[in-house]
Amino acid sequence: MSTQITWKHLALWALFLGGMALLPMLVGKGTLRTIIFANYLAIFAMSWDVLSGRTGYISFGHPFLIGIGAYTTAILSYRFDVPVGISIPVAVIVTMAAGTLFFLPALRIKGTYFALVTLAFMELMYQLVQVIRPDLTGGTRGISGVQTLTRGAVNGYYLSLALMGVIAISLWAMMKTRLGTALSAIGMNEEAVEGSGLNTTKLKLFAFMVGAGVAGIGGAFYVHYLGSIAPRALFDINFLFTIIVAALIGGASTIIGPMAGAFFLTFLLEYLRPFLPGAERYFIYGSIALILYMYEPKGLYEILRKARERLTGANA
């Protein structure tokens, strides 16, 4: 983690994003829409990973944060005609404030208990959205007709790609610093980090704010891509697990991992659709996640890394 950023790293990022930018010429609109979802899922998974993958505080309430970002901008722009140039930044700030709320239980509890409290946050939000001011939130039916930022799959794709790219590279550069190392150290042994003289409260707060900020950006742009929002689709256990599983099978505590996981999952679910149109797909993807996780807890990232090592080792 303390390895320096080199030109090789930057060249690889450029190659990856450049390759992604060519995709609209190669694939159809339908596939492109699938990739757009994968890009947003990658953003959510990276955001979950900053908060939970690094520090070990497993959040089961991530849709709570994403939902706050999405609802804030949707309500502001749809109900109050606030321009998106203002409503999106406001949504991100509000989400970060919600991240602080999320952080409070993390001062006292860890592990399973923290996970359950965060799950409660999500359920609470689901209920509240329906009963408090349904004239604003649209109640159970949500809001549709939210202003979209782009027209057509290709533009939507480029916007999501740009967002994902900027977020991925920023987080990646941040995690290369000692700050990133310290956050991972918290996940491994929080007391030892404290005993080494680091202020774990500040570090955790920072991780929660960054995680929430990214979730807010993702949620806000996603709602302006979809043009609609509904509580059941957002504050949903399946959505939550898709995010967590994407980060975990890709490789927690990395940047490439959650992205790879998001693409893997999205395409897996998409390609299974013709064969298994119902919820059985989730059974297949659960099994694949389980096997992958048992075989290599560090995820796809580690499998690829080991394969590369074996290949280069064989060449040498």
Binding site: M1, S2, R178, T181, A182, S184, A185, M188, N189, E191, A192, V193, E194, G195, S196, G197, L198, N199
Partner: protein
């Protein structure tokens, strides 16, 4: 004035009390050992000094009270803590483990790292290895090294020899002695291994179920019948 004064210290986990009115001093340039069996309160004592347990009484570093401060403040004031080696960051390289220790003493990172590498050359060779894959002895070196990265004036070492071979123990003893003699570092260790503690320390305190029972120089304690009975079975 002693570098570290512990005065009437009690420690609590909720309602359970695990240290009872413990008092002793650590003079500047001394090596002091606290010995005791499992559950005697050794790690609690260390955690108390680091501000990680609820305490009553006083802990003073150069006359200034430490109780009530965060660990990060206590480390900044010059207390370095090498916990039992199980408390490393297992999936992190040796180098990163050391660098986490260097977080508070940013200006000294280069010098401290060079010093740690000089004391434990093997840590330089293994810089990119994850500590989970290291031997117990090497992990103990990482633990001490990580504490030294904080530029301490007082080094706390919690049970350095647990589960290590006699050869590795004597290497660790030699390094601690060297730190004490060459750098003038004051060291407080806790131990179950009486021989290790007696060979290293200038003063030894015996802790039993949270009470400080006997204190003295290694010579005095070696002559103490009660202690010999309790710990050597004869």
């Amino acid at each position: 004035m002693a570098l570290l004064e512990i005065d009437n210290l009690s420690a609590f986990y909720g309602r359970a009390q695990s240290l009872h009115n413990v008092s002793f001093n650590v003079g500047k340039g001394e090596i002091v050992a606290v010995i005791g069996t499992n559950g005697a309160g050794k790690s609690t004592l260390m955690d108390s000094i680091m501000g990680m347990v609820k305490n009553t009484g006083a802990i003073r570093l150069e006359g200034q009270d430490l109780i009530g401060f965060d660990s990060s403040e206590i480390v900044k004031r010059g207390v370095g803590y090498a916990p039992e080696r199980a408390h490393l960051f297992p999936f992190m390289t040796v180098e990163d483990n050391l660098l986490v220790g260097g977080y508070t003493a940013r200006d000294d990172i280069g010098r401290n790292l060079a010093h740690v590498h000089e004391l434990f050359p093997v840590l330089k060779q293994r810089a990119t290895q994850e500590t989970a894959t290291q031997s117990g002895g090497e992990r103990q070196m990482v633990s001490v090294g990580r504490a030294l990265m904080t530029s301490p004036r007082l080094l706390l070492v919690d049970e350095p020899t647990i589960g290590l071979s006699p050869k590795v123990c004597s290497e660790i003893a030699a390094t601690l002695k060297r730190l004490n003699e060459e750098d003038g570092l004051t060291i407080l260790i806790t131990e179950q291994n009486i021989n290790f503690a007696m060979s290293l320390a200038t003063r030894v305190h015996v802790l039993e179920t949270g009470h400080l029972r006997i204190s003295g120089t290694p010579q005095e304690l070696a002559a103490d019948d009660a202690l010999n009975k309790a710990y050597f079975g004869g």
